[in-house]
Symmetry: C2
Subunit: 223 residues, 2 copies
């Protein structure tokens, strides 16, 4: 049966959505061979079958699952014989709390750092007007006023990530000795920044960078 | 064998340390009958046997364990037949990350809110000079300048706890359907504020208050 992940697409086919990266990594962790289907902001008709307007969307045979957290839970439930994404039920709930913390407390700090870069460098030309309008409505000011590319914004992000940095100094992955979905949540944000901004948004050295390199090399098939 | 938890003591025998509350709750969760031995800041000689100067300290027969996180891990390992504090190894690592986040990102916000109240209302008279000196050295300014009892500081704390509030709106405990050590980490901070400040430091209604009431009633023995 064909498994398809619908992902946000930018200029030059860059897949920059942090949420889509979470699902992409979850599929790879579960060793599921999937097709990765790009979707521009302006291609809402392409995902109308999902009865909503956001990616990622997972199509697994006749099943359609939306929202990255739901997709992870679906994969864990439907593919129990594959490596676990969470661990036990306590770990799954704690991962959900981590997911919420990233979305609610860390992503606004990250958005402040890179939103101007997202618009300038990765949003496709035909999507730019939509992107500016929708984000400026959300932020209440122009993208350039919201995201001034200041050093202070980057320092605030690093300050917010301090506890992660301490954790990754003492162990290779967020949930201990092996990678799990908590890592992919953070990795999605890391890739988002890496693919979007020419500046170093995440710390350029230290435990978080070492960890990012470990995660980047997880699913590379040897020749 | 006697189990003793050495706890920080304030005026009128108030036990106000958030870290000592973590260990107290962990002992109760593990159904371990312990003695709770009070220690003033100025009674360092009382805990000299531990070869360091901080509480909580757990004495379990000949074993001496310091640091609240180490105490929780010790109890989980030594009392595996009692209810688990964490769940599996993934959950234990994610709880450690939660612990670090509370200590590194949330406690400074909480300290801003209540440090002046701690000094005024709960530190024992004979400890006041030590407390002021040690904290002012840490903060770099006077306690009254650091902790101005402003509404803004309380708003910043609530902002920091937003993801917790969303989690507890959707499930009774941080790690899901049953209480675990992650709850006791947060509960320690809640008790610290409750026992220290006459103001409402944590949200006075909503999911966090409902949860605090649930945790408060966990280990009350029925008549």
């Amino acid at each position: 049966m064909t498994v398809i992940l619908y992902e946000l697409q930018g200029k030059k086919d860059v897949r920059f959505s942090p949420y889509c990266w979470r699902s992409r990594m979850a599929l790879q962790h579960k060793c599921i061979n999937a097709e990765y289907e790009p979707v521009l902001f302006s291609q809402k008709e392409k995902i109308r079958f999902s009865k909503q307007t956001l990616v990622p969307i997972l199509q697994d045979g006749n099943q359609v699952i939306t929202d990255s957290w739901n997709i992870a839970c679906y994969l864990e439930k439907e593919y129990p014989e594959k490596p676990t994404l969470f661990g036990d039920k306590y770990a799954q709930s704690l991962t959900k709390q981590f997911n919420l913390w990233m979305d609610i407390s860390i992503h606004p700090l990250l958005a402040k750092c890179i939103m101007a870069d997202v618009l300038e460098y990765v949003v496709a030309d035909r999507d730019k007007e939509y992107f500016r309008k929708s984000r400026e409505k959300r932020f209440g000011v122009s993208i350039e006023k919201y995201s001034t590319r200041s050093v202070e914004d980057i320092e605030n992000l690093h300050h917010g990530l301090k506890s992660i940095s301490v954790t990754l100094k003492n162990q290779p992955y967020i949930a201990g000795e092996s990678p799990s979905y908590a890592d992919y949540i953070l990795f999605g944000s890391y890739k988002f920044a890496l693919l979007t901004s020419p500046r170093n948004i995440f710390p350029a050295d230290g435990p978080i960078m070492d960890w990012a390199n470990r995660i980047s090399n997880l699913f590379i098939k040897e020749l």
